[in-house]
C-alpha cells in the first residue's frame, strides 16, 4: 500500500538553512546538505529545499546545494523558490534534483507549468500555491492565491488555480496556508480537503504543523497524501521516527 509521506522543508538563503515564521523573523540553522542527509538517515520520505535567496548570483548556490545533496542523499528531493524558466529547471534537474517546485512565476506565466511538464515530465513539476483564507460578504470561505512570499494578492481562487495547474501538467500540489504558517496551530485542513477532493494528483499539506496530531489531521481530515513541516523537526521537537510511529498508531500507512 502506498505510504503517506513526511517531508521536512528546508528554507535556504545563500546556501544556508533558515526558517521563516510568517515569512519574516528568520533564524539561521545550518548546512542544507548535512541536514538533508540527517533527515534521510532519520527516515524522511523526501526533502524540499526552498530557496529564498534574493539575488541572481545567490541562486547559483542552490545548484551547488542540489549537486552536493545528490552525492549523499538517496531519497527524492525537490528544489523550489524563484524558478521562472525551463533553463533553470534543467540546471537544477541535471545537478540531481528530482522535482522542481514553481510558485509565483507560474501564476505570472502559467505556460511555465506546461513547458516544464512537456520537457521533463509531470512527475518533475510541483505546483506550490500560497493560499490566503478569505471570507465572502455572505460569510462563506474561499482561498485566494497570493504570490511573492504572501505579499501580493492575485484575486485568483485557489480551487481554480489548483485544477488549472494540474490540467497544465503539474504532477503534485503543495498547499501552503499563509494564515497557518508559523502558527503551529495545525494545517488548514478545510483548504487541503477542498483541493484534494478536486484533483487527482497528490496534495501536500504545508504551513502550521506544530504537533504530531497535526500531521495525522493533515492526512485524515485534510485528505493530504503527504505532510510538509519545518520547525517541529528542525528544532528537535520531534524526530521523524516519532512522527512515523504516531501516524502508524493512528492507522496511517507510513514507511
Amino acid at each position: 500500500m502506498l505510504a503517506k509521506r513526511i517531508i521536512p522543508c528546508l528554507d535556504v538563503r545563500n546556501g544556508r538553512v533558515v526558517k521563516g515564521t510568517r515569512f519574516a523573523d528568520i533564524q539561521d540553522a545550518g548546512d542544507p546538505v548535512a541536514l538533508a542527509a540527517f533527515y534521510d538517515r532519520e527516515g524522511a520520505d523526501e526533502i524540499v529545499f526552498y530557496d529564498i535567496t534574493a539575488s541572481a548570483e545567490g541562486r547559483c548556490t542552490m545548484i551547488d546545494v542540489a549537486r552536493r545533496t545528490a552525492e549523499q542523499v538517496f531519497i527524492p528531493f525537490t528544489v523550489g523558490g524563484g524558478v521562472s524558466d525551463v533553463q533553470q529547471m534543467r540546471e537544477l534537474l541535471s545537478a540531481g534534483a528530482d522535482k522542481i517546485s514553481v510558485n509565483s512565476a507560474a501564476v505570472r506565466r502559467p505556460d511555465l507549468i506546461n513547458e516544464g511538464a512537456e520537457r521533463f515530465g509531470s512527475q518533475c513539476i510541483v505546483l506550490s500555491i500560497d493560499c490566503a483564507r478569505r471570507i465572502r460578504p455572505d460569510g462563506s470561505v474561499w482561498w485566494e492565491v497570493v504570490i511573492d512570499g504572501g505579499r501580493v494578492p492575485t484575486g485568483m481562487d485557489v480551487l481554480y488555480w489548483a485544477e488549472e495547474g494540474v490540467r497544465r501538467g503539474a504532477g503534485e500540489l503543495v498547499l501552503n496556508s499563509i494564515d497557518a504558517d508559523g502558527t503551529k496551530d495545525g494545517y488548514d485542513n478545510e483548504l487541503n480537503r477542498a483541493v484534494a477532493e478536486r484533483v487527482d494528483v497528490p496534495v501536500i499539506a504545508s504551513g502550521g504543523a506544530g504537533t504530531l496530531q497535526h500531521l495525522v489531521d493533515g492526512i485524515l481530515i485534510g485528505k493530504a497524501d503527504a505532510v510538509l513541516a519545518a520547525s517541529i523537526f528542525h528544532f528537535g521537537q520531534y524526530t521523524i521516527a516519532e512522527a512515523k510511529a504516531y501516524m502508524r498508531a493512528a492507522g496511517i500507512p507510513v514507511r
Binding site: 500500500m1 502506498l2 505510504a3 509521506r5 534521510d40 520520505d45 545528490a70 552525492e71 549523499q72 538517496f74 531519497i75 527524492p76 534537474l93 541535471s94 545537478a95 540531481g96 528530482d98 515530465g121 509531470s122 512527475q123 504532477g171 503534485e172 487527482d200 494528483v201 497528490p202 497524501d225 503527504a226 514507511r255
Partner: protein, 205 residues
C-alpha cells in the same frame, strides 16, 4: 566497471552517485564499445516509452543492448528501463494507432494503471517476493521503495516476477531472469533499501 546507458531520457546522475556510494565504479555512456567492455549494464530512464525507443534507435544502442544481454553480463533496468524490456506498451505516442514496441527481451506487455487510481503513482510502496532472487538478497519483505510511474509491466510468464507491489491492483514491480534484472521503482532514491539492491547488483558485476 558498470555502464549506465545515456539516451536522453532523464537524469542519470543520481544512479551514478548511488552506485558510487555502494563502491561500484560506474560510467554514464552512449558508446557501444563501453557497453561491450562493461562488467554490468544499467538501463535507467524516465519519460515516454515510444520516445525512449526512438532515442535508443537513433543512438544505435538497440543491438548493443541485445548483445550485452546475450553475453550474460548482469543487466539492470530501472523504471522505464524495466518497461522497455517488454514487447509492447499501452503508452501510445501521438496519433499512432499501433502500440509502441519495446526491446522484447521479456514476453509481456506494459499496461496503464486502471481508472480510479491516482496516476502517476508517486511515493513509497512495499515489495513482496514470490521467489528468492539475487537482486533482493537481504531485503526484508514489506520494505518500502520509491515509485513514480503511470504504467506497469505484465509479464506473460509469472515465473519471471521477482517482486510484487499493491497499488489498487497487485502488479509486478521487479523481474529477474538469469542475468536480466529490472525494477519499476527507483533504487537510487529508495534510501537504505535501494542502496542494498544496488549493492546486490554491483556484487554480481
Amino acid at each position: 566497471m558498470i555502464a549506465i546507458i545515456d539516451y536522453g531520457m532523464g537524469n542519470l546522475r543520481s544512479v551514478e552517485k548511488a552506485l558510487a556510494h555502494v563502491g561500484a565504479e560506474a560510467v554514464i555512456t552512449q558508446d557501444p564499445a563501453v557497453l561491450e567492455q562493461a562488467a554490468g549494464v544499467v538501463l535507467p530512464g524516465v519519460g515516454a516509452f515510444a520516445q525512449a525507443m526512438d532515442n535508443l534507435k537513433a543512438a544505435g544502442l538497440i543491438e548493443p543492448i541485445h548483445r550485452a544481454i546475450a553475453s550474460g553480463k548482469p543487466f539492470l533496468g530501472i523504471c522505464l528501463g524495466l518497461q522497455l524490456l517488454f514487447e509492447t506498451s499501452e503508452e501510445r505516442f501521438g496519433d499512432n494507432p499501433e502500440l509502441p514496441r519495446g526491446l522484447g527481451v521479456i514476453p509481456g506487455r506494459v499496461l496503464r494503471f486502471p481508472a480510479g487510481l491516482k496516476v502517476p503513482q508517486i511515493g513509497w510502496n512495499t515489495l513482496h517476493f514470490p521467489k528468492q532472487t539475487r537482486l533482493f538478497a537481504g531485503v526484508e519483505p514489506g520494505s518500502h521503495v520509491y515509485f513514480v510511474h503511470s504504467y506497469y509491466a505484465a509479464p506473460a510468464d509469472p515465473g519471471v516476477v521477482a517482486a510484487v507491489t499493491d497499488y489498487g491492483i497487485e502488479y509486478c514491480s521487479a523481474v529477474e531472469v538469469d542475468n536480466v534484472m529490472a525494477v519499476q521503482f527507483h533504487p537510487e532514491k529508495s534510501s537504505r533499501v535501494g542502496l542494498q539492491i544496488l549493492r546486490n547488483f554491483a556484487a554480481l558485476c
